[in-house]
Symmetry: C2
Subunit: 100 residues, 2 copies
């Protein structure tokens, strides 16, 4: 699933203390079709009707854990397209979840 063409984009940002939980969150977000845009941020097309499923999956993952903050924004594709990215020499370590 890409982020263009469709009408809505889910933007998920997270700050999670535990390495294992953080890794599980990133694997989950990848599995549901989002793409990593920063170390702790994913984005991807979403149907508004799928939002509750995405959030339910996240709530299931964090059950029993503490010290985490996950935020889900559903924005229009045009708002997503008009984001500004200021970046230099930045390499996303896509596989970092396998290194922890």
């Amino acid at each position: 699933m890409g982020v263009g063409g469709l009408e809505y984009v889910a933007l998920v940002i997270y700050d999670v203390r535990d390495n294992k939980l953080r890794s599980e969150i990133s694997k989950f977000l990848k599995r549901v079709g989002l793409s990593r845009i920063q170390k702790s941020a994913f984005a991807g097309s979403i149907r508004p009707s799928d939002r509750s499923e995405l959030e339910a999956g996240l709530r299931r993952l964090v059950r029993g854990w503490s010290n985490y903050n996950i935020q889900v924004y559903v924005i229009s594709a045009s708002t997503y397209s008009s984001r500004t990215v200021i970046s230099e020499g930045y390499v996303l370590e896509e596989d970092e979840e396998f290194l922890v």
Copy 2:
């Protein structure tokens, strides 16, 4: 500046390798009136006309640095309000920039 009442909210997320640059970015975002919502994310009301100034300030800060990715989203206040926050036992270390 809060995030309610006005029409637009700037959401700034960043992934910055260098501690000093990261600290300068967070101080800058605070100074222009945004509030920290995660370790590396700020949000706050913005007039669309102020967006270019915010971005120019960020570009000025990162000049000469490398290994950073900053993303600026300008979303409607209602979209911001309808974000979902999944959080437990999470404490924002507001002063972390003085600890690095």
